[in-house]
Structure formats: structure tokens, C-alpha cells
Symmetry: D2
Subunit: 333 residues, 4 copies
């Protein structure tokens, strides 16, 4: 019973079906009928005109976004525990041509406007120091916290005042929407977000993420760089079809809710052990080495998180019986 | 009836089936059971120990290979009409950190050892000039010519003598193997090739190419750069499964033969119009504007190739009836 | 008696004096009184408001200029024999983040508008091909030809129509001004040039070149990149002082005239041997191996230029007696 | 009376004389007689065979060194307050092709082996995280502390064990040698240092720093990159001559001692106000805003350092009378 990560889960059957259904000759790259429907489909979801590009990975989505918002000689402010800092092998530097990531602190991998303001205030406005050009947050965060629309908006106001582009890494955006019950629009462009990496792969997609630009003019450079970084697949229809399938009938949101519910069940089994509030599909618990070993002996797989902590990640297809069994096992520790 | 390009064709049904069959929880990235079988499967095909990495595009495969063979301050020798020069949006420069492409001439986009030797001899061995570090050829070439094993070996000897890494862009490698009837081994590592971009997408794959290293130690840096460039998909099993499906029962080779046969049929319909010998799945014909218009009026789609020429590309799933109709129409011009 | 190159010549005594005279405590970098006088001094020379940055090498000047005119994903059109292509170790790619140099042909390393137009017309306007963003010419050219103001203006019009930034590598700009007797303004911004690498080192400077922006807004990014590439010297006053010394009393122009006159004398000694017209301080002559050996035996040093040619370069401090002796020796061949 | 920075000071007269004396025709770039003497001169000083390259700035020296020790996909460990992090405009990323700087803590900008070991231990050995490849320390540090040979050696042992290249930013190396009274060899290669940016510009040079490689094989790539980054001056003899003049008669060390003595005098005037021990030519003092204003009113110029602190920097040519006057004024606060 695996609680390692959501990105190893199976894809939703509708996604596989969509791939099969789109498997016929059409214009290559993003000229096919599925790709051409993306802008409209996401504009409808976001209640404003957006540009939507498919890519195969969250790393690509994040880095294409950052490269449109930050020049090679600038810096991107992000949390010290951000995925772009820790888990993308330095890809932001490759895509931007060497931009710096400036690391900020914040409880639960969440940034506060104050931290952003202080960081920018420390930078001398001269050619010796790298000037901040963009802000990137992750929603839900790497520790499973969800920003509320108001929190994003407060950061958006700081970004605007400081002249920073504003990117949201939404690898688990569905989980944040499901948790906050706030609209995709309120959580993004209405709060000042310029570009969103809208994750599907952790949430039932197979190999397609959506890069959403709320300022459509930004999409042009990203489209060039998508090709230049080798991310323009010739049969892009299979990616677009995945995204459309996930939007159809709100599968993306249902899946997010399902994963959140599983995490909730685990959290409720051990309220006193929680390291962070559980606001998405990740549960961090304080456990002793013996306790962790005991859970493993019962067939549960998960990552240790430093000393004395464990991380559990649920997904859209977590087996409800396994979740309940794990909840029971945790309660019994 | 489309004869634009092979990369817009449908994927082979076995590929779609393999994607569906591999759609279950497994270790993320390339730790799954399908990905772990790749080295062995390709080693068997190539009759030597190789390292095989899946990637989603030929551009990524080519550029990861070049980045392992050429430092940022070096140059890669290639044909003026090479895909890496003309159709990859400068991706080689992004992946290598700025390496130069040195453009050589050669009939039908084919390079000769003499051209390589002369180009290298012209470079002063000082710090002012960019020094050549790698050679890249395309087989089959952009004009549909296939290198024979002996031709590759002659280039391989030059490369070795000149200290150049040797890369083969095999976007249409299947077509070259099918045409020459020479073994994958003879066409590559036995002829001195260090790295091969083994194309599947133009030949029945959906979104998976194989990057093959014949010097396994080269794979390590490429593996890092695959992640760093955003090309490490979390559900890599779907890519590995595609490649394995294509190798199973030699689908890749059968597909290559089928596409070549279609091109042959078209070529035989107009032997006096051929711009280049037809040795793969591309046919370049001399036609007047009126003739091209007449073919289009009959429902055939294709690219004009400069003034007075047209390009026809066949694929594994070209409709035999459509091919015969086009052959007849060309004969009748 | 050395006729190898002008960049090995001694600096003019006024330059050394200026370095010594500026050797006192002042604000670091470019905040000193000499650096602050540069804009005005060059604006006066060019009869328009310019921004002038000191740098130590022509490579740095050229590449900073190109990086302001061309993004990483674009291309710069230049002559196949341009210094930026052949003698800068790929520096343009480093500074631009990987921009491509597109090589054009042209007699005597001189570009014609037609070649520029044809090259741009060949590029498909899609994301697969690198789009041209800038044009760079060298004046005087690498073969010692000087563009007239009208020729520059014709290129400038093409550049404007095609949306290209326009850079002039003026490593030997002084020689071109001296030969054409046209004003610095007419040869540059009035002809559409956006940025000029104004060379002093080959013409009596020690270690200071001027990078001139005729669109002052371009200077800002170049100023950042000057620092980012390690070219912001802390005692910049010594560079600014060199440039001011060269402008004072028109030493730069007198030196250019002197070098040109020496080249003229050599050219007139062998009018039938000239490979190119002599319009600056370089003389390319057809000579047999025996003839070249004979000149060397008489104590003259120079470069062979391929087979059957020699290159002579004069400089501001070429010894008139040595020049006359060489002219006589050439006549006597 | 300026106590802003040492890099704005005048150059030593011997340096200006050397520039004038080397002002004659010689082979360009680094083929001249002065440049060819550098390896020997520095090998003698360091009691081992070294390769020595001149460059014009400390940023260039640091970044060329880092680029030889760390690939684009690696990271360099350094102190949070290191010059390479704070004052080089992101140049390390430009020169390395995007390497990351991993920031460590340490009193007085000094690193301890423990911090290095812990940082490396935290990095997972997989392709998702940027792997550490090099360690860079500054000696004397940005806060004027000098590493003793034993401290460097302890870091050198950690670096070796962890597979890290070891760079020392010696912008104030002379001050560290002067303070510790330990040999250049003991402070560098005998302690495991691979490359040293040996600063002269802050210590009496005009525009020449020395980049010293203790593993001579590293110099080759740096030499290529020096050209590629526009740092190969054609009249390099003027740089080499500066360095040789500073080595002659130990001017570099005398100047370091002189600057240190001036700092000592200031420190002794206010032992209870010292923020850091004074072990080089920088003095950080706790002062109130009123006290700082009072000093400024008396004609002393310096930087505030955050709230409640001031920074004083002495140099080889600090006027002894001014130093004494400032010491007196501080005592009197």
C-alpha cells in the first residue's frame, strides 16, 4: 500500500481513452483540433481569456513560465522548500539563462507578503546585485497547505508594487481548489497571478500539464521556448486530449477532492501528530523510528521526512480500504 | 490524402495498447519495470551493451546527445540542411550552453569525410576560434538518402582521427535500416557512432524516442540533463512501454519498410522527376506550379519545396490506395 | 619589421599619460569624473545624444551590443568572415545566451542589402526556425574595405524593414572614417546603426574600447551585463581617461589616417597584386611562396593568408622608414 | 577622507611605471615577454608549479575559476555573504552556464567544515537535486576575518572527502597573508585549494588580477573561457607588467601590511565597538546614527552597514594622518 507520491499513480481511465480517441492523423505539433480547443476550454474555466500551452512535465511548465517573467540577469523569489529550488535539477537556471532563485522562509512552505517585501528591500538598486523580477509560490504548498484567495491577493499586491511577475506552481492546484472551495479565477488572476503551472499529472493525467498565461502576450515567448527546449511534441493532440478529458465533467476537481478526503481521513486519525495542517493531499506526521517501522511491517510504504517525521501522500486513486487501514494503524500506534 | 509529414501520422495500435497496459501504479520517473527493461531490449537489438533513455521528442534526444559530446565552447559539425540547424529553434545551443553548429555542404544532406576533414583543418588551434568537438549526421537524411554502413564507418574514422564525438540523428533510422538492409549495429557503433537518436514518433510511436549511448559512460550526464531540461516524466512507464511495444515483433522495422515501399511506389511513377534518389520515405520531385496545383486539385496535400519542387512523405500508415492513386496521378502529369 | 597586426602596437603616449594622470582616488567603477564625461564627449563627436560605455576588449563591446539587440532564441546576421564568427571563441553565444550567427556572403567581407533580405526571406515564420533579430557589419571590414555612408544607410533601411537591430563592429572605425572622409554620424546613426563598437585598441589605445548606443535606452541592459560578464573594472577611470585622451585633439582620427597612409603606400607598390581594394590599414597581396620567403628574409614579418596570399597590417605607429622599405621590396619582387 | 573601499584607491606608482615601461610592440594577447614570465613568478612565490592567468577584474577571476570547478548542472557552496553571491550580478551563473550557489552560514562570513559537511549531507544523490561540485571561500572574508592555514586545510580535507573543487576568492589575499604571517603556499595549495583569485586591484594594482591554478591542467579550459568571455586583452603585456611589478620587491605584501596596520589603528581606538575581530583591512563598528553623523561632519566618508553599524576600509595608500585623525575621532565618540 503505497503512500509515497501522487505522481506515480495511474492515470484516470478517461485520460487513456482520450489518448486512444485522439490517435489519428491530424496537423502536427499544436495545430490539431484538440490543441486548438485548449485556450477556449481553460478560458471558460478561468472566466477570462487565457492562453493555454500543453507540456509534459511540471518542471517544463514552471520553467517556461519563469523564463517569460524573469530575464537571465534577474532573480525569482520563492520559498526555500519550493519545488523549483529543490527538485528540478537547476532547470530554472537552464530555461532562464542563469536567473537566480532567492530563497525566503515561511511556515509550511508558504510565503507571506512581508517576507517578499523585506527581501526586495535588502537588494541595492545597482548593477552589482541581482534584481528581483518575479515571485513564485506553490499552491498547494510542498507541505500540503493551501493558499486562500485573499492570501494570494496580498502577495499579488506586493508583487505588483515591487514590479515582480507572479507565477504559481500549481502542481497540486486541484487540491487547493478542492480544499478552499474558491474559484480558479479567485485563486489566480483575480489575485494578480500572471502564469499558472496547472498540474494534471499528479491528479489523474498521464503526461500532460497545462501552462496558463493570464496575460496572453506572455505566451508568445513561452511558445518559442517550448520548442527550443525540446518540448513541442509532434503529436501534441495526445496531450491536449488528456487535458480536455480532465476538464470534461470536472474530473480534475473530483480527483482533487478524492485525494484530499483520503488525506483528511489520515489526518483525523492522528490530530496530535500533525506537523502541518492538512489542507490538500499530503500528511506529515511525527512518528518515532519504531512507529514508522511498525507501519512498514504492516505493509504501508511512505517516505521518512527527516528524523522523527513521515510523509504520506494520497492520490485520486488511493484505495479507500487501504486508507482506512492506514488510518486505523496510525490511531493504534 | 496527406503527404505532408510522417510525424503527424497516427500511432500504431500496439503503442496505444501498451500505454493502456502500463497504466498502473509503479515507481515514478524511470524506476518502473518498463523503463528498467530498456537497456536490455536495446542492447539486444544492437548486439552490444548500450544505455537507452526515453525522451518525448527528437529535438530532446538530439540535444541531450550533443550536450554530452560537445562542451559549451565547442562546435558540432553538421550538414547545412540538418534538422538540428533548421528545425529545432536553436535547441542545441540551449542544451549545450552555446555550442556552435558548423555547417557543411554535401549532396542530398549527406556528409562526406572530406568535407569534415577540410572543415577541421581550417580551424586554427588557438583560443580565438571555436574548436570542433563533435560530428552529427542524419540517417536517413533530411532528403531521404540512407547512409550505408561503410559510409558511416568512413565518417567514424575521420571523427576518431579528429577527436570528434559522433552522433547520429536517427529520426528516420528505421527507414535507413529498412532500405540498406544493414544491421542497426553495423550502421552505428561498429561504424564509430557514440550516440544515436533512435526515432519512433515518425514511425508509429506516439510520444517516445530512444536516446542510445554506445559508450555507456556518456549516459550519466545525459540523465542529469534530461531532468534539468524538464524531460524526466514522472510516469515514464508510458514512454518505455511504447518503445518496448515497437521493438516487440519488430514493428519498428516493419513500419519502416512499409513507409519506404510507399515512397518507392511514388518514385517509380516519376523516375525522371526525382531530385534525389529515394532511399527512405521521402520523395522530392520536380514539378511546375501548374502540376502541383493539379495534384492538389485531386486532393493530394504536400509541401512545396522551394520553387519547382515538391516533397512527399509517406508513413507507416499511408493508405496504400491513396499512394497508388497519387502514383498514378504523378505518372499522368 | 612587423606587419602582423595593429592590435599588438604600442599605445599612444597620450594614452599612457592619461592613465598616469587619472591615477588617484575617485569613486569606483564608472562613478568617477572621467567616466562621467564619456557620454558628453561621444555625443559631441556623433552630433547626437549617445550613451558610451567603456570596456576593455572589442569582443566584450561586440557581444554586449549583440546581447541588447538579440534574444537568446534569435539570430544575428553577419558576414561569414566576421570577427564575431571567427575570432571571438563563441563569445556572442555566451553573452546572448545562445543566439545563432547566420552567415552571409559578400565580396571583401562586405554585406549587401540583397543578401540580408534573401536570408531573412528564407526563414519560415514559425517556432521551429530561429528568427533573425539583428544585423552586424564590420567597418572597416576584415578585408580592409570601408563602407560608405550610403552603403550603411541601405543596410540600415533593410534592417528597419525587417525588424532587425543594427550593430557595427568598428574595431577599425577610425580607419573607415579616415578613408571615407565621412562623419561619424553619417556612418552610423544617420544610417540606422543602433550600436557601435568603437575601437581604440588597434588605433593607439591600451585597453579601452567604447561601446556607443545611439538609442540610449539600450544602454541599461548592457550596463547590467557588463557587470555580469566581469567587465566592470573598479578603477574604470583609467579606461575612460584613455578614451578621452584619444578624442582630445582628434588623436583617434590622426592615428587612423597615419595607418591608412602606410597601407596606401604599400598598396601603390603593387597595384596588380591586390586581392582587395585598400580602403583602410590592411593590404592583401597575391604572392608566391618564394616571394613571401624573400620578403621574410629581408626582415619583414606578416601572416600568410591561405595559399598564395599575404596580409599586411599597418598601424598608427608603423615606422615610415620600414613601410617605405617594404614598399620598395614589394615593387622589386 | 574616504574610508569607503579599497578598490577605489590609486594604483601604486610602480604599477603605473610598469605599464609605461611595457608599452611597446610585442606579441599580442598573452604571447608577450611579460605574460610569459607570469607562471614562473607565481610558481616561485607559491613554491610549486602553478599556472597564472591575468584578468582585469576579481569577478572574472572568480567566475573563470568556478567554471573550471563546477559544471552547469552543479552547485558551488559559499557563504551567504560571499562576494560571488552578493556583488557579482549573477556572473557565476553566466560563466558556469547556470550553476547554483548554495549559501551557508558562518560567523564573520567564515565557513566551517561542519557547515560544508551538513549541507552536502542534505542533498539526495539523485537527478532531481543539484549536486555540489565546488566550495568557494573568501580570504580575507567580506567581514575582514583571515582564515589561518589550519582552517583552510580543514576545509580542504572536507572538500576532498566530498569530491568538491576548492576555490579561494583572494580579493584581499595579501591582507590575509600579512595578518596570518603564513606563507601563500600554506594558505592555499598545501591546504587543498585548487584555484585562487589573487587580488591586486584592491591592493595597489590598476586593472590586473591573477588567477592561479595549483592544478595546472585546470588552466586550459579557463584560458578558453577567458577569451570566450571577452577577457583576453590584446595588449595583455600591460596586465602582466602590473602583476610582475607588484611581486617585485614584495610590494603586494608591504601594501597589505600597510592597509592592515591602518585598520588595526582604527580598531584599537574602539575595541568595545567592534562587530568582528579585525584581521585584515576592514573595520566594522557599532555606532549610533548620531555618532555616524558626527564623524561625517568631521569629514570622514564611509558606508553605513545596516542599522547601527558602519564599515571602514583602509587601503595601501590610506593617509596615515587621516587614519590617526579618524582613530582619535572614534575614541572621542
Amino acid at each position: 500500500m503505497r503512500f509515497f507520491s501522487d505522481n506515480a499513480a495511474a492515470a484516470h481511465p478517461a485520460v487513456i481513452d482520450a489518448i486512444a480517441a485522439s490517435n489519428r492523423l491530424d496537423t502536427a505539433y499544436d495545430g490539431d483540433e484538440w490543441s486548438r480547443r485548449l485556450d477556449q476550454a481553460f478560458s471558460s474555466l478561468f472566466e477570462t481569456e487565457v492562453k493555454a500551452l500543453w507540456v509534459t512535465t511540471g518542471t517544463a511548465a514552471n520553467c517556461l513560465a519563469l523564463a517569460t517573467l524573469c530575464p537571465s540577469y534577474g532573480s525569482v523569489l520563492c520559498h526555500r522548500d519550493a519545488h523549483i529550488e529543490n527538485d528540478e535539477a537547476g532547470a530554472p537556471a537552464l530555461f532562464t539563462g542563469g536567473a537566480k532563485l532567492t530563497l525566503l522562509e515561511g511556515e509550511g512552505a508558504k510565503l507571506q507578503p512581508g517576507a517578499v517585501e523585506i527581501s526586495c528591500a535588502r537588494v541595492r538598486k545597482d548593477v552589482h546585485q541581482v534584481q528581483p523580477h518575479a515571485l513564485s509560490i506553490t499552491n498547494a504548498t510542498e507541505y500540503g497547505l493551501s493558499y486562500r484567495a485573499g492570501e494570494v491577493a496580498a502577495l499579488g499586491e506586493s508583487a505588483k508594487r515591487l514590479g515582480l511577475g507572479f507565477h504559481m506552481d500549481g502542481a497540486r492546484f486541484a487540491n487547493a481548489v478542492a480544499f478552499t472551495n474558491q474559484s480558479p479565477a479567485d485563486l489566480t488572476w483575480r489575485a494578480g497571478v500572471d502564469a499558472l503551472s496547472f498540474g494534471f499529472v499528479k491528479n489523474g493525467g498521464l503526461a500532460a500539464e497545462a501552462l496558463i498565461f493570464f496575460r496572453p502576450e506572455l505566451a508568445e515567448q513561452a511558445t518559442v521556448l517550448r520548442k527550443r527546449s525540446g518540448h513541442l511534441l509532434s503529436k501534441g493532440r495526445s496531450l491536449a486530449a488528456q487535458l480536455l478529458a480532465m476538464l470534461d465533467g470536472n474530473i480534475w476537481l473530483q480527483n482533487g477532492r478524492r485525494a484530499n478526503a483520503a488525506a483528511r481521513e489520515l489526518a483525523d486519525a492522528a490530530p496530535t501528530r500533525l506537523v502541518h495542517p492538512v489542507e490538500a493531499n499530503e500528511v506529515f506526521l511525527r512518528v518515532s523510528a519504531d512507529e514508522a517501522a511498525s507501519l512498514r511491517a504492516q505493509g504501508f510504504d511512505f517516505y521518512d521526512w527527516g528524523v522523527g517525521e513521515m510523509r504520506l501522500v494520497t492520490s485520486w486513486d488511493s484505495d479507500p480500504a487501504a486508507v482506512t487501514r492506514l488510518a486505523t494503524a496510525i490511531s493504534a500506534l
